[in-house]
Structures are given as structure tokens and as C-alpha cells.
């Protein structure tokens, strides 16, 4: 590892920097063009239109969201969905990532397949499937009644429980995969070294394994929060009108209300929330590694 660092820092390597740089630009060019044309330009237009109101340029659209109890509940619902989904996915996914990293052979293939295959199914399909499970006469109630845990069907669909569990179900792979990737690279000999230095298994985990897994946690939290805070299909199919979020408001503003300023402002607020969480989690991760 250090040998690689020294070689990377060695002067002769610098002679090759220029061709590597231009090759890098060339390789990234298609992706850069697609992002600029299809993402950055429309995003700039969206941002611009969020400042357009009936009385000219201003923050009127933002005021309609942030200055109004209902508008603020949209923000709160989005943040709540994102935060709860992220926390539950982290609690469920963190040990699962270790299970995946420790598994060998056929078991590991099975684990990986069960993580990747659901990604091939559309979010809409998975949300519908979840709502089918959660129906009054769905599978979950069927099992509960067969086991005599309940006499009558429990109301599950259109509850917070079905929303969060559904969102976790859909976004969990995005928590497990980055953590797994990092954990799988932690040399098991570090745990042995900690043990020979007097650290109990719990202490070795807290002081060695957990800090080293942090970059994976940061990545997983960033991805799952960004995805779930802005989820549209999940709250729409699992909660309907009863859980309006910034994402569902964006859709309503553009599709029903013909109010591009409102939709754009909601989009901008959503993006700001996502950015704040990503930046904060990244900083948290770096701060710990330096200690």
C-alpha cells in the first residue's frame, strides 16, 4: 500500500500525467455531455423558474411553501420519510452487510443475488407488490390471522408502518451494497491485532472495525436519504393523498395545477435538503477517520 503511494509520488510518474489527463477527459466526455445537456441545463432552467411569480421575480413560490403551515408539512413529511427510511435501513442493513462480507461460496452468491435481483424490478412494481402484501386481505394479514395473532384484519396499508417498511424494502440494497464493499476490504488480521493488544471482541469492533466501515455508512446514508427524501412512487402508492411530500407536490404542481414556480421551488428545496445531508454525512465521516 505504502509502496504504491511512494511510486505514485515519485517524480518520473509526473511525465505521464499529461497524457493520462487528456485520456481521462476523453473517457469522461460522453457522460459529461449527457449530464450537461440533459441535467445541468434543465436544472438551471428549473431554478430560474422557481423565482418567477405573478408579480415578477422574487421568492414568492418559496414563501408559499416555507411560510405556510401546510407547505412546511410537505417539507417535514419529506424529511421524515427520508430520515426514518435511512435510519431503519441503516439498522437493518449494517449487520446484513457484515453477513454478506463473511458469507462464502454459494451463500454469498445467494445473498448478492437477493440484493441485485430486486434492483431489476421497477419501483412501481415493488410498491404495488408491497401494497398487495399490506392489504386488509393481503398476505401479511393472512399470516397474522392464521397464527391467531389477530382476529380481524389490521389496517396496514396507508399507515406510517407500511410507508416506512415499504421504503426500506425498496431502498435497502443501496444501504447494504456500499457498506458491504467497504467491510469486505477490512483485513481480518486487524481484528486479530486488536485482540493481541488486549481489546475484547466488542472493543475491537468499536475501535477498529466500526471506524473503518464508516466510509461505507456515509455512502449508504447519502444514497438512501437522497433517494427516499425525494421518493414519489413509494408515498403515492402506499399512502395516496394522505401523505403529501415535496415530491408529490412537484408532480401536482406541474401535472394538475400548472404552477411551474411552485413545482420548481419544491424541487429546489428538496435538492437543498439532499445536499445538506450528503455534505454533513461526508464531513462526519472524514472527521472520524482523522482522529
Amino acid at each position: 500500500m505504502s509502496r504504491a503511494l511512494e511510486e505514485a509520488a515519485a517524480p518520473p510518474r509526473l511525465a505521464f500525467r499529461a497524457p493520462q489527463f487528456s485520456a481521462g477527459v476523453l473517457l469522461a466526455l460522453p457522460a459529461v455531455l449527457i449530464l450537461v445537456v440533459l441535467y445541468a441545463v434543465p436544472l438551471a432552467r428549473l431554478m430560474a423558474s422557481s423565482f418567477v411569480g405573478p408579480s415578477g421575480l422574487g421568492f414568492e413560490a418559496y414563501d408559499r411553501i416555507l411560510g405556510d403551515p401546510y407547505g412546511r408539512s410537505l417539507v417535514w413529511n419529506s424529511v421524515r420519510l427520508g430520515a426514518l427510511t435511512t435510519v431503519v435501513a441503516l439498522i437493518v442493513g449494517y449487520p446484513a452487510a457484515f453477513g454478506l462480507a463473511f458469507a462464502r461460496g454459494a451463500l454469498r452468491s445467494l445473498f448478492l443475488a437477493s440484493l441485485f435481483l430486486p434492483l431489476a424490478a421497477s419501483v412501481i412494481v415493488k410498491s404495488f407488490a408491497w401494497s398487495t402484501l399490506m392489504r386488509s386481505h393481503g398476505v401479511v394479514n393472512g399470516v397474522l390471522m392464521t397464527l391467531h395473532l389477530t382476529h380481524a384484519p389490521i389496517r396496514l396499508l396507508f399507515t406510517q408502518f407500511s410507508l416506512i417498511s415499504g421504503a426500506v424494502n425498496i431502498f435497502l440494497p443501496f444501504m447494504i451494497l456500499p457498506i458491504y464493499t467497504v467491510v469486505a476490504q477490512i483485513d481480518p488480521i486487524l481484528t486479530e491485532a486488536a485482540a493481541t493488544l488486549g481489546a475484547s471482541p466488542a472493543r475491537a469492533f468499536m475501535r477498529v472495525v466500526a471506524p473503518l466501515s464508516l466510509p461505507g455508512v456515509v455512502a449508504g446514508v447519502s444514497i438512501v436519504f437522497s433517494l427516499s427524501v425525494s421518493a414519489y412512487v413509494v408515498p403515492t402508492l402506499l399512502m395516496g393523498e394522505s401523505y403529501p411530500t415535496l415530491a408529490t407536490t412537484i408532480a401536482r404542481a406541474f401535472l394538475l395545477l400548472r404552477d411551474p414556480a411552485l413545482g420548481s421551488a419544491a424541487g429546489a428545496i428538496l435538492m437543498a435538503i439532499g445536499l445538506v445531508v450528503v455534505v454533513l454525512s461526508r464531513r462526519f465521516g472524514e472527521g472520524d477517520v482523522g482522529r
Partner: protein, 366 residues
């Protein structure tokens, strides 16, 4: 080192009848080993001989199937590694990449309820032992291999362990640095009166660093001796072959006379040290530096004839390969002021009978 015949001192590390199996294969087979306080001992052997397993068992990183391990008078056989107070320096160093040099060294001190000042003093002392005191706040990723090695050593020393264990700890270093470290490390460990067990496959390292060497083969200790006797009086064919270079002649034990064996070989009768019954198939082993070129009338010397096949110049000496009609060439070292012979020369070789050793020839049974 003439204390080998003293009555046994209570050993600091005592391994008794230790066995370990992985599935069907027995990796360690009823091994006994005792290491005195302050001794530097090397487990030497080819890969797969069980030396690393034995080290891991002493550290508690692997559990034995049978036998017991006592360290400093305490039976630690069933004790988890974090309670044993052993220091381990791993082949890959196993430094914690998220911590600084000082963070790594203080890791083992954190659980010991020391004051901040005491801790800092211990860390600084451990770092100064390995001459790394100015690197405390560096991240370990930024260090060279040799520096990482020193930090790994300082980390193990800082906890003042009962015994230090080194698992091929020098093998990742390049040759020059490794030789320097062997000498430095031996001096340092002697200075602080540490008890240490090294694992290596490198015989030079074993001979340079150790007070005693345990040569291991197929899960057993073949010989446990100080380096000089290990080299000069190997107790088994495996040890002879593994430590140093030797030439071999095959034959049959014809007679036992005056504590020596007379062995008839295709090259002629040869006298050798050993303990084999008359009629047994034997391998006679001779070190190249004990062989002289030229006839001798000394009755205590063996003589064979051969033809020089090749001469390899190696600076201070030349290595001469002589065809004596055996399956492998007979190796002779010629050094100093002697002029080596030329390929094709017919020569006579001789060596003292007391410097050739006979072992049972397992291959002859076929």
C-alpha cells in the same frame, strides 16, 4: 553458550503435547517446546510445516485440539487472546490504517486506566526504542515498509507483553533492510530482556537472530538447538537438508566401530557419525566447507574420487560441483588462497570422518 546441560530452568513459555488438526490434516502433531525467559527462539521450517499455526496457538488466535500452553506460569490454553498479554508483530504489520502512529502505539494502553501523561510517556518510550519518536502524529499510510515495521514493533512493545511473537515479520522488507533489521532487532530485544518467538522460513534470519532454533517439519519439531549445533550437528536428514548446503552419498552400513559407522557406498567405504544398525540403508551427508581437494593419508579422513563438472565463482569462495557417480553432484567449497580446479579435472576429495553424518535412508525402502 555452554549452558545446555544445566538443569532445566522453569520455562517462560511452555508448550506441551500441542496438536491442531484442520479437517483431516494434522497441522501440529504433539509438539513440545519450552522457551526460557529472555530467550530469542525461532521456529524454522518450510511453508506448511505448522510453524505459523504454533505461533497463532501461543497467541490465542487459534484454539488447539490437544495439549497445553503456559506463559509466565499461567495456563493460557483456554484463555482468549486479549487476556494473554502477548505482543504479535504480523507479516503484513496489521497497523490500524485509520489511526496515527501514536494512535496505533497507544491502542493497547487504552484499556489500562493510565493517566494521559503516563500514556504519552509510554508511547514516546516505545517509539524511541524503534527510533520513530518524531513520527507520532503521522498517519501510518504515509510510512515506508521499514517504518511501518518499526511502528508495529513499538505497538507490540508498548503493552510490555509477556512474550513477543513475530510472524515472518521481516520477510516483507527488501534484503538489505532486512539484514540490518535482524541485527538491530536482536540487539533491541536483548537490551530490554524480552522473550521472543520468531517464525521464519529464512535460515539466515533464524541463525542470525536466535539463541535457539526449532526446525519444524510436517507438524513436528525435528530439532531444537542453538544455531551452532544445529548447523554443525544436525540430528535428522531433514535438518541437514533444510539448514545450509550438504552433499549426500548413499550406501549400506557395513560395520560399527569406535562410535562411528563404516558405510559401503558406490564411491567406496566412508566413515560417518551416526546410530544405525548394520545392514541398514544410509544417507551420508557432508557440508561443502568441510571437504578438501587433494589426497590425504590421515586415517580419520574419508576419500573419494571424482571429476570436476563445473566451478561457480562466488567472490570470497568458489563452489565446485564434482561428479562422483552419485545421483547428485558432490559440492565442495574452495576459498582463500587455494586455486579452484578446472572443469574436467580428475580430483580426489577428502574430509574428516567426524564431519560426516549418517541417517536412515527412507527412500531405499522402495
Amino acid at each position: 553458550m555452554g549452558r545446555s546441560v544445566e538443569p532445566a530452568v522453569t520455562p517462560h513459555v511452555a508448550v506441551t503435547s500441542l496438536s491442531k488438526r484442520f479437517g483431516a490434516s494434522t497441522v501440529l502433531d504433539r509438539v513440545d517446546l519450552s522457551v526460557e525467559r529472555g530467550a530469542l527462539v525461532t521456529l524454522l521450517g518450510p511453508s506448511g510445516c505448522g510453524k505459523t499455526t504454533l505461533l497463532r496457538l501461543i497467541a490465542g488466535l487459534t484454539a488447539p485440539d490437544e495439549g497445553s500452553i503456559v506463559i509466565g506460569g499461567v495456563d493460557v490454553t483456554r484463555m482468549p487472546p486479549h487476556k494473554r498479554n502477548v505482543g504479535v508483530v504480523f507479516q503484513s504489520y496489521a497497523l490500524f490504517p485509520h489511526l496515527t502512529v501514536a494512535g496505533n502505539v497507544s491502542f493497547g494502553l487504552k484499556g489500562k486506566s493510565l493517566s494521559r501523561a503516563e500514556m504519552a510517556a509510554k508511547v514516546q518510550r516505545a517509539l524511541s526504542l524503534v527510533q520513530m519518536e518524531r513520527f507520532g502524529d503521522r498517519p501510518v499510510r504515509a510510512l515506508s515498509g521499514g517504518q511501518q515495521q518499526r511502528v508495529a514493533l513499538a505497538r507490540a512493545l508498548a503493552v510490555e507483553p509477556n512474550v513477543l511473537l513475530f510472524d515472518e515479520a521481516l520477510s516483507a522488507l527488501d534484503r538489505n533492510l532486512r539484514e540490518t533489521m535482524q541485527i538491530e532487532l536482536r540487539r533491541l530485544l536483548k537490551d530490554i530482556d524480552a522473550t521472543a518467538i520468531f517464525v521464519t522460513h529464512d535460515q539466515d534470519e533464524a541463525l542470525t537472530m536466535s539463541d535457539k532454533v526449532a526446525v519444524m517439519n510436517a507438524g513436528r519439531i525435528e530439532q531444537f538447538d542453538d544455531p551452532v549445533r544445529l548447523y554443525a550437528r544436525p540430528r535428522s536428514l531433514f535438518t541437514t537438508r533444510f539448514v545450509g548446503v550438504s552433499s549426500e552419498l548413499r550406501g549400506t552400513v557395513a560395520a560399527r566401530q569406535a562410535g562411528q559407522l563404516r558405510i559401503d557406498t558406490p564411491q567406496g567405504p566412508v566413515l560417518a557419525e551416526g546410530d544405525l544398525p548394520t545392514g541398514a540403508a544410509a544417507v551420508v551427508s557432508i557440508r561443502p566447507e568441510n571437504v578438501a581437494i587433494g589426497a590425504s593419508d590421515d586415517q580419520e579422513r574419508n576419500r573419494i574420487e571424482g571429476r570436476v563438472r563445473s566451478v561457480i565463482f562466488q567472490g570470497p569462495r568458489s563452489r565446485v560441483a564434482v561428479d562422483v557417480g552419485a545421483s547428485a553432484d558432490f559440492i565442495v567449497e574452495v576459498g582463500g588462497i587455494s586455486t579452484p580446479p578446472s572443469p574436467g579435472d580428475a580430483i580426489v576429495l577428502s574430509w574428516p570422518a567426524s564431519r560426516s553424518f549418517a541417517f536412515a535412508d527412507a527412500r531405499q525402502a522402495a
